[in-house]
Symmetry: C2
Subunit: 371 residues, 2 copies
């Protein structure tokens, strides 16, 4: 039985409730792609006028932004559409702004994590690393230059995410609220990144809740809470509904993050596009590991964490130990319980049915995703 | 004879022309300090609500922002005051926004340059490096964590510089023009940083003009052109005057940068607060070096460039060789000629006398500064 089946069984949701606004969603996502395309073409031209190198930077940012799941625009749309929003041009621009923000934050996060790939392909720094190595630079120097370009790339992406939102054609008060949401999301993400850096120095005594709080700040606020609230703001919703969607987003985002951590160890490599050895090799701090650290299997697991040369066989051992320790079941149960909280909040009286149906579908997708 | 004496002799400027608006300037700079103080206190409180670590980050940013020459606010004020501007509250906020922008850009520039000190004190990353080393981290790991915190710090400073400007209480069209100026300045700085990274990989065939263009983009646009134009925009000046001040700022900024490069090799250590060995030890690319590279003294100079263990005695040798090669005189002449261009533009008919007098004084200060 899948996690979303459990959600259905435990909760009060009805399968298939409401017609999926798939055509409307697809149309909207097409608009988002157009906004992004126009934005990257204009940025590249503008960059080239300053120095040809800059056009290349924008091309790298465009590549990084392309082909995502468009999770944030989907959330903007779902909230906006479910609340009877009318101006899809503005909604598409807001969705695009969140995608550019996402690019900015992952580019800098990859600098912090010293990652040169994402989803199995070179990231912005990775593209420049290749060039620097080809130019004959020794590897440490080449890596530093590539990371430096990543710092610059994230900066311009961050500023432009704000600018995209700032120049959305909406009433001044709506614009101001949207900018506040983006601002709060960036500050939350910075706080999460700081905690992540701190925990990577010393993880002693960390509880699952500490890790969940860190991941929520770093990723969920800007990826779930803010897009949902932004969609509601655009649709002219009441403060209660906006706050309610923030609660839904927080719980949905945490569930998403825990599923992400599960996929990072147990997911199939083809599906996620990232090596499922990665999280173990880098010793990533997750609720799985936090749970396992209190179990008798821990010493056997811990020897493999952070081993960059971990073999497939050793990874299988780690997976078996995490399952045996009950850590896998614990994390699955935890993801489910956050999804249930989201569902509970969705069924509250103030959220219109059309919207709660759309979000329930997204919630099931969050639990069942394979990548 | 100092460079500014030469400027007076060659140009048409009159020494002591116009009364210095010192009291007004000091009053304005006091307002800027108040805006900055309020901003950092509010940011620190806001950060603490997310995680205590964040308050520390803001304290580090405040320390980095404190005690500068307030060059950018001085330029905003000079343009604004010289053009009859009335609302000093808005002008102080704009000056403060440029100082926060400056902090954002130098924090990230220090990450790119792997510098942990600025003006002889630990910078943002330097403060965290000390903490990470004290926590027992091996040096490479500690450096990376410290740099990572620098990335986050620059991000929030950058966003907040834009927000400070965005929330200035001025007419919508003025606000929009000010934001465009900041946006252009950030993009110019990013372009300059990209060129700097590129040149640090391969400096073959670089001309003085290439270095000047890079330094202009990286530093002068946001430090001179944009603040002068912003002051004029705030004062409600015509497009001609705004563009004219952009020209003045470009030439003044380039002169400033060349003087900076001279101070970086010949300046007295007590005055600049940075070791004058630094530029030679890191092999910094400057017009001095570009000129020297075509002279017979070059091989003897080049052996010392980028030597982290350069002694005082060897530095004296480099200074003597640069003087003998005519590179020092060349750079001084170049700075003077850019200052003359600025002066020439200032004497154009469209810039009011009160303003040109104020800027002439700043121009002399740029040429004669010792730090």
């Amino acid at each position: 039985m899948s996690l979303s089946d459990l959600l259905l069984r435990n909760g009060r949701a009805r399968p298939g409730a409401g017609d999926a606004p798939d055509a409307a969603m697809e149309g909207y996502l097409g608009q988002v792609e157009e906004v992004l395309e126009d934005f990257f073409v204009a940025s590249s031209t503008r960059g080239r006028d300053l120095t040809p190198r800059f056009a290349g930077l924008w091309d790298a940012l465009r590549t990084t932004t392309a082909g995502g799941k468009r999770l944030r625009p989907r959330l903007v749309f779902t909230a906006w559409h479910g609340l009877g929003g009318a101006d899809s041009t503005a909604a598409a621009r807001v969705g695009a702004a969140f995608e550019v923000l996402h690019t900015a934050l992952i580019v800098h996060d990859d600098v912090v994590d010293r990652d040169f790939t994402r989803r199995g392909k070179p990231n912005v720094s990775g593209l420049y690393l290749g060039q620097a190595l080809a130019a004959g630079l020794p590897r440490p120097e080449a890596e530093h230059r590539a990371m430096s370009v990543g710092v610059v790339a994230g900066d311009v992406a961050l500023l432009n995410a704000y600018r995209l939102l700032d120049r959305t054609d909406v009433a001044a008060s709506v614009r101001s609220t949207l900018l506040d949401l983006l601002d709060e999301a960036v500050h939350a993400s910075a706080a999460g990144e700081l905690l992540d850096i701190e925990y990577s120095i010393s993880a002693a005594g960390l509880q699952a809740q500490d890790i969940i709080s860190m991941e929520r700040l770093k990723t969920s606020v800007y990826s779930f809470e803010a897009p949902l609230k932004a969609g509601a703001v655009l649709a002219g919703a009441d403060a209660d509904i906006i706050a309610g969607l923030g609660d839904v987003g927080r719980n949905m985002g945490i569930a998403y993050q825990i599923v992400d951590d599960l996929l990072g160890v147990f997911g199939d490599e083809a599906g996620t596009g990232k090596s499922t050895l990665g999280d173990v090799r880098e010793g990533k701090l997750t609720v799985l590991m936090s749970h396992a650290s209190t179990r008798p299997q821990w010493p056997a697991i811990a020897t493999h964490l952070g081993d960059p040369d971990l073999s497939e066989e050793q990874a299988d051992q780690v997976r078996a130990l995490l399952t045996e320790a009950g850590s896998r079941a614990y994390a699955e149960q935890l993801a489910l319980s956050y999804a249930e909280c989201a569902q509970e909040r969705l069924l509250g009286a103030d959220i219109p049915r059309t919207l709660s149906h759309g979000l329930e579908r997204m919630l099931s997708a969050v639990l069942d995703r394979r990548r």
